[in-house]
């Protein structure tokens, strides 16, 4: 079914008419969605899409290249702060600002990639963890960055001030389209990276870096490149995230956020684009919506409240949120190491032969 006869068939964006059809349907749904759902969900979708960009980028690093990062909140912060500061201090237009911020993040990604040449596994995790925390505290200590009190985000102006063109997006509804288009570009970009020589080098490094080196993959270049690309994605996501929020402080980008990002990738499925998308969607939805309002869910909510009253402490119900995400993570690792992507593949296989 997934037989490829030549390279060009492999790199085709749409493998078949069916894929094209459903992609068009999906895009139609995505573009009309904010028209039909209440405004609150538009905000949620914005956050989800920002997290999708980040998770897809993180997946290039963790899933495809086999390097670990517990410091992605740091790149996320660089993107957010970079974009806002470029716009307020240098009056740059938004698109330019977010690109520069993302390249700054990519540069830091390159820096973090250097120790990764010598370190792996838990050691690399610790280095990247330290990196994320350092970024948070350095930003907090610099008054020009708003210090610990945070900074207010300027209006999201897509125009160019110097030319007198102004196109300000104010509502979640308008921002949705900007973020949606960015997300599509980034996701298609990630897919293309993984289908090229660069992507194959990443996968070769993941499977065995010694073997990769033997067949001619330059480890120095490709390992640091993986970090840089991943950080670039985080930077773009961070730049958009700032405008979704409207205000942020350094503590927004704490260590827990880095861990949640990693959870998204693992739950979604390591090493696949779709995995990153599904993981980011599920975890963000759970964290921001379902688990927050669990007491109001019909039937199950009442049950949880009763259980919490009987056995948990005062804040048992709130802590259930972290427990649930932890349980999902454990469950995925034990029962479905490919993550949600694995479930998706199984479903696809099942339906392909249905009903025979």
């Amino acid at each position: 079914m997934d037989m490829k006869r030549d390279y060009y068939e492999d790199i085709q964006l749409f493998q078949s008419g069916v894929v094209l059809f459903w992609t068009v349907v999906l895009l139609l749904v995505l573009f009309t969605l904010p028209l039909v759902v209440p405004n609150y969900y538009v905000y949620l979708f914005n956050i989800i899409m920002v997290h999708i960009i980040l998770a897809v980028g993180l997946n290039i690093l963790v899933g495809s290249t086999g390097q670990i990062s517990l410091g992605h909140a740091g790149f996320f912060a660089i993107g957010a702060y970079g974009t806002v500061l470029m716009m307020t201090l240098f009056q740059l237009p938004f698109i330019l600002a977010i690109l520069i911020a993302a390249f700054i993040a990519a540069f830091f990604g390159f820096i973090l990639g250097l120790p990764a040449l010598r370190l792996e596994g838990p050691y690399l995790a610790i280095v990247s963890l330290g990196f994320g925390l350092t970024i948070m505290h350095v930003i907090g200590g610099v008054d020009a960055f708003g210090g610990r009190m945070g900074i207010k985000v300027p209006p999201l102006d897509l125009g160019i001030k110097q030319l007198g063109i102004s196109w300000i997006l104010t509502t979640d509804f308008h921002k949705y389209y900007l973020i949606l288009i960015m997300t599509i570009i980034m996701v298609v970009g990630a897919r293309n990276i993984l289908k090229t020589r660069v992507g194959r080098s990443f996968v070769a490094i993941r499977d065995s870096d010694i073997a990769a080196e033997v067949i001619g993959v330059n480890l120095t270049i490709y390992k640091t490149l993986a970090f840089a690309v991943s950080a670039f994605y985080a930077g773009i996501a961070g730049g958009l995230f700032g405008f979704v929020l409207g205000f942020f402080d350094p503590f927004t980008f704490n260590m827990i956020l880095s861990i949640i990002f990693l959870v998204m990738v693992v739950v979604g499925g390591l090493g696949t684009i779709l995995g990153g998308i599904m993981g980011a969607t599920l975890i963000t939805y759970l964290q921001y919506d379902l688990l927050k309002n669990i007491a109001e869910v019909p039937y199950f909510g009442a049950l949880m409240v009763a259980v919490s009253k009987q056995w948990f402490t005062l804040v048992g119900l709130e802590n259930f949120s972290s427990m649930a995400i932890g349980l999902i993570m454990i469950g995925i690792i034990i029962f479905e190491p490919l993550g949600m992507f694995g479930l998706w593949i199984r479903m696809k296989k099942y339906w392909m032969t249905w009903p025979f």
Partner: protein, 399 residues
């Protein structure tokens, strides 16, 4: 191929119909109906700031009491607590969810200056009153935000009152200060300097502390060498405990005086290993074992309605932040509207329950400049040193 085209067309058609059917702009649901008024609060129930989560639960106690007594003008209060983990990104999410999905009439409390900053413009744009943020921030009141009503005394005013107490009541001339290097600490520093200037005095040491610093040896030595008799602290709980322990090690024993953010004595006593005894703090509410009739009433109610909860300053703070809103809702009458409640809030004058006297006008939404002064006694008991004290130097009042 034919089949696919048909599919495509039909899917688009169905979707278009759905769009048209629901495209009517969905205004946020109203915050009340004939039977209930919906009120929300965000607060960290989990995460690093979880100890302050009791504020949100304290407000719940007040609303439960109000509901037990028959509600407000025939309406019960439906109260939502949302855990934002002290993270502005999540605060924005939970606030939007409450406003746009549940339909919330007003917000009370809300821990965290950054969390509040992230949502204050959104609340104002949606015309939702927000009463008693449990954080003091100049940006909340200046410039005037018509929908935000502050109860919490400003740190600047509090430092002023504390400095006055040190000089006039404790008769100490050498005052040092340990302040957190952010708006909280710097506001306190300003206030202390302002007050000391009226006595032609200045601080003998002004030592900044980074919120994440874990070693304060050099700072404490500088304080010791300055010969400070009293040290004013505007820092976070961890830094305060480290400061006290370091000072004990080097044999430095000044009178420690701290802002009200550290007025939860049982907690501070426990994490400082008993060193907290003798520390003087500002306070935004009556002492927990006060005989004030309202405190007795709330204490009894808490035992009955929420026996698991520890009766402490932050829990009762949740009550006093929410009190003025209940009062305004009562005044607004059965014919409820945001305008009526706003009018009632703007005309609250000398309203006092278990906190300071609150005054709001159309032009001034900082409710008070008063703090109490309390001292930690043996076994984390509360000793009241001085009742409500206003800051006659408060700059915001002159305008």
């Amino acid at each position: 191929m034919m089949f696919k085209k048909k599919m495509l067309v039909s899917v688009i058609a169905v979707w278009a119909v759905l769009c048209i059917a629901q495209a009517a702009p969905a205004a946020p649901p109203a915050g009340f109906d004939d039977n209930e008024i919906r009120i929300g609060q965000w607060g960290p129930q989990t995460g690093p700031a979880a100890p302050w989560g009791s504020v949100a639960r304290g407000s719940k106690l007040l609303f439960d009491i109000v509901n037990e007594e028959g509600g407000i003008n025939g309406r019960k209060i439906k109260y939502f607590i949302r855990d934002d983990m002290y993270n502005p990104a999540q605060t924005v999410g939970v606030v939007k969810e409450l406003v746009e999905r549940q339909g919330v009439f007003a917000f009370v409390g809300g821990v965290g200056a950054a969390c509040g900053m992230a949502v204050k413009d959104y609340l104002a744009a949606n015309k939702i009153p927000w009463v008693g943020p449990s954080a003091a921030d100049q940006d909340f009141i200046q410039p005037l935000n018509p929908y935000l009503f502050a109860v919490y005394p400003l740190y600047r005013d509090e430092a002023n009152v504390l400095a006055q107490y040190i000089v006039e009541k404790l008769n100490m001339k050498k005052v040092g200060m340990l302040y957190q290097n952010d708006a909280y600490g710097k506001d306190g520093l300003e206030g202390a300097k302002e007050r000391l200037a009226t006595y032609k005095m200045s601080l003998v040491a002004e030592i900044p502390v980074e919120p994440t610093e874990k070693d304060l040896a050099s700072q404490i030595l500088r304080l010791k060498n300055s010969g400070a008799e009293a040290v004013l602290m505007f820092v976070n709980p961890t830094a305060a405990v480290i400061a006290l322990k370091t000072a004990a090690n080097v044999g430095f024993k000044p009178q420690w005086i701290s802002s009200n953010t550290l007025s939860d004595y049982p907690l501070m006593f426990k994490i400082s290993g008993g060193l907290w005894e003798g520390v003087i703090t500002g306070a935004f509410g009556e002492i927990p074992d006060s005989t004030h009739p309202l405190m007795v009433k709330y204490r009894e109610a808490a035992k009955r309605l929420n026996p698991q909860e520890r009766w402490g300053t932050f829990y009762s703070a949740g009550i006093l932040f929410a009190d003025p809103l209940v009062e305004a809702l009562k005044k607004a009458g059965r014919n409820l509207s945001t305008e009526a409640v706003m009018k009632a809030l703007n005309s609250i004058k000398d309203y006092q329950t278990i906190g300071p006297k609150i005054n709001w006008t159309e032009k001034q939404h900082q409710g008070t400049d008063s703090v109490m002064i309390q001292k930690c006694g043996p076994n984390a008991s509360y000793i009241q040193l001085q009742g409500w004290t206003t800051n006659d130097l408060a700059t915001w009042k002159k305008k």
